[in-house]
Symmetry: C2
Subunit: 164 residues, 2 copies
């Protein structure tokens, strides 16, 4: 089974999804990256210096005012190809089952990714950034200024990962 | 006009919202905080040492396995009381119009908040954390391990804010 099937591996478990949704999202733009297959994406966004382009729909253009003064942004996007019912997952590179909320896997009840990027340039409705690892044409959900005072926790530890 | 009306101030601007949504969300739990009115919430999550409780719906319990090894988490939640069409906003404490995407205001096309919290304890489906500033009973969308290697940018600058 290829990883792109988003199937279930031994040791993985699913939950029954709720019968209805509770809220809804607008895609506000698209993210353009060099990667068109999941296997091509960098394992870790800091592995790549690739410059990616975030294109915000013209409707929201005024919302970018002031963004150019930010050195870093939080980028929220929608990982629309992943299944949403996995609660235990066996990441290919670790081989041990872990809870979905202890992982950054795209497979989760609400497949919203959060990435920290360096902002290189704002040109109209297009942003050049470094630090993404998603597929080309990924739907954009939000952009936020990154505040070191509240968003940076350089001493944070992920115990299960540190032990690998 | 009270701030709780979520009205429009002079200098603010709206966009016409898209006619349809593109994706949908499940609320996966609730966040319990000491704050029941917007004006009571801390201006900045690091201002408060209040311990808040995140209650994850039983359906997703298995998804928490391994989370207890994390010192910090990203908490994503839904700011369901805010209007979604503001593109220029005049924050009360700054008095100057800025683009929605240059602000952390709850009013945004997709009102998803991202907070970095310190994890104190996991007890079944309940987490004790420090670092939230949201209203009591806020809907939970996601929990993620915080990786300092990709999520911490201690040198990040928000230029418009630094100048205040």
């Amino acid at each position: 089974m290829s990883d792109d099937d988003y199937g279930i591996r031994e040791g993985e478990a699913t939950a029954e999804l709720p019968q209805h949704f509770d809220a809804s999202l607008y895609f506000i733009g698209r993210i353009h990256t060099p990667w068109t297959r999941r296997d091509d994406c960098p394992k870790n966004a800091r592995e790549s210096e690739a410059v990616c382009e975030i294109e915000v729909d013209a409707r929201w253009l005024a919302g970018l005012a002031g963004l150019e003064t930010c050195s870093h942004l939080l980028v929220l996007y929608w990982m629309d190809k992943a299944r949403r019912d996995l609660v235990l997952q066996v990441p290919r590179h670790y081989g041990e089952a872990r809870g979905t909320f202890a992982l950054r896997s795209p497979a989760r009840p609400n497949p919203i990714a959060v990435s920290v990027v360096r902002l290189l340039k704002v040109d109209g409705n297009k942003l050049s950034v470094v630090g993404l690892d998603c597929l080309d044409n990924t739907p954009l959900l939000d952009l936020k200024p990154y505040f070191a005072s509240t968003d940076a926790a350089p001493d944070a530890v992920v115990g299960w990962h540190a032990k690998q």
